[in-house]
């Protein structure tokens, strides 16, 4: 029987769907935090580590990255709001705040 050592785990390929979400299964400690926080069931429980099954549904909220204790998930989080992006572009700023600048 082949043993799965640390090295093998580290060599698991990273998984990247069409957005900015990147999952490094080799670092996953199977704590299940991502399963708790994801509102779109991007991850599903696995025996040794979670599996990313709905990467395309990710809305890049960043909850999983923020709560993953093993840095197994990377995502360039941000708000998927066209109004905010258009207003920011018109005002020449990187980002606008909801409420004060936008959606009033």
């Amino acid at each position: 029987m082949m043993e799965i050592g640390v090295l093998d785990l580290e060599q698991l390929p990273t998984i990247k769907p069409i957005n900015t979400l990147v999952f490094h299964p080799g670092r996953c400690v199977n704590c299940g935090m991502c399963l708790q926080v994801c509102p779109h069931r991007v991850f599903t429980p696995g025996e040794r580590r979670v599996r990313m099954v709905n990467g395309a549904d990710c809305m890049e909220c960043g909850a999983c990255q923020k709560n993953c204790p093993a840095n197994a998930i990377e995502v360039d989080s941000g708000v998927g709001c066209a109004s905010a992006m258009i207003i920011a572009a018109l005002k020449g700023r990187d980002e606008v705040k909801c409420g004060e600048d936008c959606c009033r």
């Binding site: 957005n19 900015t20 909220c61 909850a63 992006m85």
Partner: protein, 327 residues
Amino acid sequence: MSSDYASDLLPTVARLGKEERRDHAKARLGFDRMGHRVRPGLYTLGSPNRESKVLVTANYTLSFDALRSALVGRDAFLLVLDTQGINVWCAAGKGTFGTDELLKAIEATLLAERVEHRDLILPQLSAPGVSAKAVKEGSGFTVKYGPVRAEDLPEYLDIGECTEDMRRARFDLRDRMVLAPVEMRNYRWGLILMLLAAVLIPFYGLMAMILTLGGLFLFPVLLPYLPGKALSFKGMVLGALLVTPFALFQTFPTADLVTVIAVVAEYLLLVPWIGYLALNFTGSTPFASRTGVKKEIFTYIPIMAIMSVSGAFLSAFGALGVVGGWL
């Protein structure tokens, strides 16, 4: 920065009254957008003891009221963070419902002295702003993420964990519909302009107004049923559907060249307009990602711009033709 947290316990009740309903109506209509605030602090619901659960929320009245009204007949502590009157999800996205604010609130309300246990129940949608690990390290409290919706809290508290369904962000008809009045308010100046236009050119002013209102109210309703994936595309389909009755009215049974030009211009101007309204709805949905919206902007804004400019030229051409007498 001075802390606005009440250091004393603040009593509250689960039953909402007339005053709350009036406040909710105003919030839903977009009046006093930033003024729907609750005082940050630690609230007592019923008569909690040192073993009672601690549930955390934002200091936006709709958030706070959703939480307490879900807990009828229960004793609990409600820890209200200072999110500057912004709801949980949006505040978490901007970090105001975040690790630092939570640590500050725990300290300012002397929470550790008031309860024996070390568990906090946070709304699931606050997770983009909160690192459970950092909260544990900073305060000794363990963050547990409860359901997405406050209405699922009784079941969650009874069974002690979330079901799969409770973990999912849904966007039901009711959730989509309540957004329409606020959207309408966001476009109030445009609507007023169309009303003024209706005085000069009644047919077109009213048409633009009816289409805009139709877009704002029907788009959320029809969202799941309109074809395509991009909201812009769905909106453009809805725009075309809404222009068609007007176009048929104008061209049936016969139409001269001027009318045909006018009808084509209507499609070219109003289809991208409803598409644009739909594009701006992305921020209201619980599923649009930044990557997706960026892609959508770069794909559809040029199409909308080309259509609008062509429509404007065609309108000008038609109007000049009529005035000049050569059409």
